[in-house]
């Protein structure tokens, strides 16, 4: 047993987190900043954070992940990090020449109270920011929320800095997405394209963290939302925001600053959430839904009906980030599966409320929890109390899956032992097909591996 110390009996914990179902803010800010074209993320703290966050994203994408750091020393931790950041800004523009530096903070700079806005203001006054270049900053204290909060904070900083309202009215829709993969970003754009809606997607990590091998390294790949696009968001017809935790604060900021109305939606995972997304998009873009999308939907529902016997009644444990866990739970219910245990390390009261709405009276037996102490140790203990048929979550789930012999589907962040997440979407109807393929693959592999010889099936 890998997790030999995990006991069945649940002892209430108030202070100790074991095997977290979250990580800290700055990695989210770094990821969001990578979704902006020509942008170099910068971590204002000691350099360990920056290295860890770059490594985590690199392991997940198997791609270069660039970011700079203020490299605090003990001296700067006592006297403040202004000198470090100013020096960093000089060096970054001088050596690495990005269009934008997107600064986020860490628990170090937040605890000592460095005021990023003031330091960036000083950099501007001192003429350290070259003409036509930009420095955007977001406060991302690691002791508040989770990596998803950091993503949201950086997103909010971008729209506050760039989006600008003029008299021009653009026939376009803003798409603000919660934390999804570059493959998902592509899928969102493809769906909007099928509906003939011009969108500005922020952030857009496609063509940034999934670049081709060309024999040439490009520090700033061709992807990412451009400055012009971000500026234009202030003149869009409306905003479709996906994921309350990841995208809501940016949508509100855009509404406040530029009076662009927004609709708040789930990240489109599964049939029902994708249905609502497509409808929201059609409303926002004032277009009708083309037949081709109905056909895509039909193929997903077709697979659900074809394979229903393998889904029906299966008990599922899942962990991850709220913006994807909520629609995923709904999708599992649509499949007549039983999402019985759900944890997310990311705090937020809305989680309980939304889970209750989604579960309704369908599943009285479901246990779910989020926030501090809602960790994978607790999830594992629940599984030990009464086993499940399927586990869905990031790579860290593999230890539980192996110990308890549970079919395991990798979804979420980070996935550091398999590939696919950056190339094949899990959002939209297409993404739904992929999720089902993975679930079926995992469940059927176990059936094949454990079936008695006489009932080993050729056709399934």
């Amino acid at each position: 047993m890998l997790l030999r110390h995990t006991t069945k009996e649940v002892k209430e914990r108030k202070a100790l987190t074991v095997n977290p179902a979250k990580t800290c803010q700055p990695v989210g800010a770094m990821y969001a900043a990578l979704g902006v074209h020509g942008c170099l993320p910068h971590s204002h703290g000691s350099q360990g954070c920056c290295s860890y966050h770059r490594s985590a994203l690199t392991r997940h994408y198997k791609e270069p992940i660039m970011a700079a750091t203020s490299s605090f020393t003990e001296g700067s931790s006592v006297f403040g990090g202004q000198a470090n950041l100013l020096q960093a800004i000089d060096n970054i523009f001088g050596i690495y020449e990005p269009q934008i530096i997107a600064i986020h903070s860490t628990c170090l700079s937040e605890t000592i109270g460095d005021d990023l806005g003031q330091i960036v203001g000083k950099a501007k006054d001192d003429g350290r920011i070259p003409e036509g270049k930009h420095v955007v900053q977001a406060s991302t204290p690691s002791y508040v929320g989770s990596h998803v909060t950091g993503y949201a904070n950086m997103l909010e900083a971008f729209v506050k800095y760039f989006a600008f309202k003029t008299d021009e009215k653009l026939r376009q829709v803003n798409l603000l997405s919660g934390w999804v993969e570059p493959s998902d970003m592509r899928e969102l754009k493809r769906l909007a394209g099928l509906m003939d809606i011009k969108t500005v997607l922020l952030p857009d990590t496609s063509d940034v963290v999934d670049t081709p091998m060309t024999g040439k390294y490009q520090m700033y790949p061709k992807g990412g939302t451009t400055i012009e696009e971000m500026v234009s968001m202030g003149n869009s017809m409306s905003t479709v925001a996906l994921g309350e935790w990841g995208a809501k604060s940016a949508a509100i900021a855009l509404d406040n600053k530029c009076k662009v109305p927004f609709s708040m939606n789930d990240v489109p995972v599964g049939v029902s959430a994708t249905d609502r997304f497509i409808q929201a998009l059609s409303t926002a873009g004032k277009v009708s839904i083309p037949e081709i999308i109905s056909e895509e939907r039909g193929r997903l529902v077709d697979m659900m009906t074809d394979m229903h016997q393998y889904f029906y009644g299966k008990r599922v444990a899942l962990f991850g980030d709220p913006d994807t866990l909520l629609p995923l739970t709904e999708f599992l219910l649509d499949l007549d599966m039983k999402p019985v245990y759900i944890v997310s390390g990311t705090p937020g009261k809305r989680f309980t409320q939304r889970m209750e709405e989604i579960l309704g009276d369908k599943l009285a037996e479901t246990k779910f929890k989020n926030g501090p102490n809602a960790d994978m140790f607790l999830l594992h203990q629940w599984i030990k109390e009464e086993p499940v048929d399927l586990l869905i979550g990031n790579t860290y789930g593999k230890y539980i899956a192996r110990d308890e012999n549970i079919p395991f589907v990798r979804m979420g962040f980070p996935i550091i032992d398999r590939v696919g997440h950056s190339y094949f979407p899990t959002v939209g109807y297409q993404g739904g097909l992929r999720i089902l393929e993975k679930i079926l693959g995992a469940i059927m592999d176990k059936i094949d591996a454990t079936a008695p010889e006489e009932s080993f099936e050729l056709v399934m």
């Binding site: 890998l2 997790l3 110390h5 006991t7 108030k14 202070a15 100790l16 987190t17 074991v18 095997n19 977290p20 979250k22 990580t23 800290c24 700055p26 703290g45 000691s46 350099q47 360990g48 954070c49 290295s51 860890y52 490594s55 690199t58 392991r59 791609e63 270069p64 992940i65 660039m66 700079a68 750091t69 203020s70 490299s71 605090f72 020393t73 003990e74 001296g75 700067s76 931790s77 470090n84 020096q87 960093a88 800004i89 060096n91 970054i92 001088g94 050596i95 690495y96 628990c107 170090l108 605890t111 204290p141 002791y143 670049t211 091998m213 060309t214 024999g215 040439k216 501090p372 102490n373």
Partner: protein
Amino acid sequence: MPNKKDYTNGLPDPSQLKEEMLAKYPRKVAKKRSKAMVINDPEQNQEIAANIRTIPGIITQRGCTYAGCKGVVLGPTRDIINLVHGPIGCSFYAWLTRRNQTRVPEGGDNFIPYSFSTDMQDENIVFGGEKKLKEAIREAFEIFNPSSIGIFSTCPVGLIGDDVHSVARDMKAELGINIFGFSCEGYRGVSQSAGHHIANNGVFKNVVGNNDRPRKGKFQVNLLGEYNIGGDAFEIEALFEEVGVELLSTFSGNSTIESMEYSHTADLNMVMCHRSINYIAEMMEEKYGIPWFKVNFIGAESTAKSLRKMADYFGDKELSAKVEEVIAREMLKVKAVADVVKPKTEGKLAMMFVGGSRAHHYQDLFTELGVKTVSAGYEFAHRDDYEGREVIPSIKIDADTRNIEDLVVEKDENLFRDDLVEKKAKLEESGYEFKDYKGMMPDMQKNSLVIDDVNHWETEKLIEFYKPDVFCAGIKEKYVVQKYGVPLKQLHSYDYGGPYAAFGGAINFYNEMERMLGTKIWKLVDAPWKLEPEIVGSVTVDA
């Protein structure tokens, strides 16, 4: 990309490359970086600037003190609960991401697959986190029943004034198990290195000497600074076992806290990673009289040399005979593989930029394959790792490192081994060397470019200039370098392969180099239509 340089008469002079690298920097930065780049001449005693603060915004590969302390030194010990006091990130990122393997006996504790954190929230920053830390220790004790708990401080802990050492004392008294703290806040020092030192101090003060296990076997040794990445220590352990040497404790691959507790009863300390563990080697000699020397189990020749040095130390005929027997047998196997691989690798060029020791060790393996190391450097090594230990007295301790405590160690009157001191003196008379780390630079060729704390910009220029056949570094560099069409071998994680230590490891490494240097995949990078003149379609479609 320019053609490869001519290497027939030695390595090309990289002066121009160095100038080009520096030209991009602001004046002050250029001055600093210039001192961190040495055009090597093994005949000269050249000085390199190392272990100094990182330049902000330069895109360093360095990590922090916490990583050096928790991630590197204590992380591999399986039966201690490593409780991280801080917000969640530090604990999350050091969770199973270094590949320190461990073999747990039936019924033994293994906390390595777990991540323990106090998950500090804003109220803990405002009102202090000591209460939560104490409660977390109680909960950990109640649920996991460990024999020891280590507390690791992260950035905010020092700033808000949480005293992890007093919490450790209180909780040790309350729970009756060994509990100790480390002030390894990420901003201390300038890199992982300070964390090594802090970990060494903590382990020496709180663990070493706690248990006087009766002697087992004729020859008792410790292996210091071997972290069992990808099973390296398993290879070495097997060799010791076969020749009849009792390995008391490894710091800290495949280790237990208990084994560290009786490590002071060894007759000899052998140091693999000089940077991370030389402090404990020195302190054990001062307190207990145990001599140490440097070994290298990376490379078949180096392994043989290290085993012989160990046998010579004990001066036992039977042991020497056994060692020679094992070397002869293993070298046959190694040679069989080398004979196949070397013709395919001979003359290829390597570069390596790895933490604090492997950039040196792995040059031995490459030499065995006829691969030239054209440029190398460390993230966080000190001058002694580059230039040799004789420069230690001349190293200036700057303001960033001054606050890292140097323990004052006194001789243990009861346990001090005068016999070992005598033995050491006698051996030294006959030319046998102890504390014998000569550093990386004397081992490197003339005109090789040695760079400390290499950054992204310099990496780009290096690749452009040398167009190496293989680049050795870590995960953050891997995909950057490979986008250039240059394969990168991770020498931290071994790309999830290994072991590469000792004879079996050398064979694995040879095979790995055969794969990496021989693959045709890189030739597929350019699509055929990018190489051939484009065939113009005869039909055009006009919509």
